[in-house]
């Protein structure tokens, strides 16, 4: 088996990656997960260690009627990349909730490809990025609905919050639909903290950093809502948010 060549900037999926950092961990081993027909599994990936580079690539196959709940907290590495390919069988359900919290010159990215190959499958992706300093947060997410995959229900909700003018968010939700009867929704927004909300909280006595932390906590919470280990994920995210402010 030949080792794949290091990607270049021309590869769309690596367009915003830190290629020099990636070289240090290349090639990335693909982690295969199969969820058998009718079964439910969940997995939380927590990348919060301070390291030079982390790159993972999950390949998930959901058989008919299977469901998989994946949560990602991507926050520790100078370059942290998590790629996820999910292939959905008939009536399968795939949930992805991910938060990327970065500061300094961190480059964090989540790259997904979700294949609705059979009818009646559902996918839900919720990505929240909070970026301070000169950090870059990227989400590239493709949803491909194959011919005949009628009744597909796919949603992508992608939001990024910039805490400084020097932080960068890249977001590219993408739909490729070859079936007729599908419901595909995607929303994408990059913004700053809502001034009206901050004033409301401060008017009740919270200091400006407390008010910001509370609003960011709420912003990130959506990514982990309903997770099996929600409390742990929220607590880790909260700790990290404190460091970002």
């Amino acid at each position: 088996m030949t080792v794949a060549a290091l990607p270049t900037r021309k590869d769309e999926a690596f367009r915003y990656a830190d290629l020099a950092a990636l070289a240090g961990v290349w090639p990335v081993v693909r982690e295969h997960i199969v969820v058998p027909s009718g079964q439910s599994t969940s997995l939380s990936i927590i990348e919060d260690s301070v390291v030079e580079a982390v790159a993972r690539h999950l390949v998930i196959e959901l058989e008919a009627g299977a469901s998989f709940d994946l949560r990602i907290l991507n926050t520790g590495a100078a370059f942290g990349r998590i790629a996820v390919d999910a292939r959905l069988g008939e009536g399968a359900r795939f949930t992805l909730g991910a938060a990327q919290l970065g500061t300094g010159s961190q480059v964090l990215e989540i790259v997904t490809e979700v294949f609705h190959d059979a009818p009646g499958a559902t996918s839900r992706q919720t990505i929240r990025s909070v970026l301070a300093g000169q950090a870059t947060g990227t989400y590239l997410g493709k949803v491909a609905v194959a011919r005949g995959a009628d009744g597909t229900d796919a949603a992508q909700s992608v939001r990024a919050m910039l805490l400084s003018r020097t932080a960068t968010a890249n977001a590219k939700p993408e739909l490729e639909i070859y079936a007729d009867d599908v419901k595909c929704a995607h929303g994408c927004a990059v913004g700053e903290l809502d001034a009206a909300g901050l004033f409301y909280l401060e008017s009740r006595g919270l200091t400006p950093p407390e008010a910001k932390r509370l609003m960011l906590q709420a912003f990130v919470a959506e990514a982990f809502s309903g997770a099996a280990d929600e409390e742990k994920l929220q607590a880790l995210a909260l700790e990290r948010l404190g460091a970002l402010l």
């Binding site: 809502d194 001034a195 009206a196 909300g197 004033f199 409301y200 909280l201 401060e202 008017s203 009740r204 006595g205 919270l206 200091t207 400006p208 407390e210 008010a211 509370l214 609003m215 906590q217 709420a218 912003f219 919470a221 959506e222």
Partner: protein, 279 residues
């Protein structure tokens, strides 16, 4: 308790308040009525310290009621202010503070409460968490011990019951999915929990049905109708004033107070309209 002197303010460069003066003593409830665009909400936001509402002249002096259980309250809060603003802009003497020199959260810690006309929805943050953090942030700024979880819940339950609000609603995200009336009721629950010296209530009666109006009015009386507290009630309608009887009524038009009187002035306004009365 609250002395507003010749206050002028602009919003986006446009003058809204044009030399407004008003003096409210402890134990008094004042109502401000006035036509749309008169500057009522601007006054509320200026007092609360909302960014974007720029004070261009005048002063506001606030004398919080000294908490007998904590005689150090005013002093401790003064120290917190000095530390936070990094300046020695002291109050104007005798326990009074220069309200406009304080950041919004320190105005709250000093004992000012702003009831919002449009309470903001904060998805993902429960009322209980938010209010406990807010109450304890205020206590910290005043040099008081924080409330424990149990103490806070007891207080919250008591105030929710006062406003006939289901405690379960306070476990929900702040104002999310609340009707207009529920939001206003929740504002009053917050006021009860935070127990301010002075409340500025901006159209707390809008969006309320008749029953809710009475509950909110009775809540205001129960929480704020005390010899050591004051209220500035901004309203469009006389109806709330049937329950919360004002000691004084003022008409705000064109950015200043154009007429003042007793409770009867509100009735006259209702009958004759602003234009006739304020002319």
């Amino acid at each position: 308790m609250l002395q507003i002197h010749n206050l002028s303010a602009t919003v986006a460069g446009k003058p809204i308040l044009k030399g407004l003066s008003l003096s409210i003593n402890a134990g008094e409830i004042h109502a401000i009525m006035g036509p749309n665009g008169a500057g009522k909400s601007t006054l509320a936001y200026v007092l609360g310290g909302r960014p974007g509402y720029e004070v261009t002249g005048g002063s506001v002096s606030f004398t919080p009621n000294p908490n007998p259980a904590h005689p150090e309250l005013v002093e401790g809060y003064g120290a917190a202010r000095g530390a936070s603003t990094g300046s020695a802009r002291a109050g104007v003497g005798g326990g009074a503070v220069d309200l406009l020199a304080l950041a919004p959260h320190l105005r709250a810690a000093a004992g000012l409460f702003l009831g919002f006309q449009y309470p903001v929805e904060i998805p993902g943050v429960s009322f209980v968490q938010f209010l406990r953090e807010a109450a304890n942030a205020q206590r910290k700024a005043r040099g008081e011990e924080p409330l424990s979880g149990g103490e806070f819940l007891k207080l919250a339950r008591e105030k929710a019951a006062l406003l006939k609000m289901d405690m379960d609603m306070l476990k929900r995200p702040v104002n999310v999915g609340f009707s207009g009336g529920e939001k206003k009721r929740a504002e009053m629950v917050q006021m009860g929990i935070l127990d301010p010296s002075f409340a500025v209530l901006d159209e707390t009666d809008s969006g309320l049905d008749i029953d809710a109006l009475r509950i909110v009015g009775e809540g205001i009386n129960a929480i704020m109708r005390r010899p050591d507290k004051g209220v500035l009630l901004i309203t469009h309608y006389q109806r709330l004033l049937d329950t919360v009887k004002p000691d004084f009524v003022h008409v705000l038009a064109g950015g200043r107070i154009v007429k003042s009187g007793g409770a009867e002035l509100a009735l006259q306004l209702e009958d004759e309209g602003y234009e006739a009365v304020a002319a």
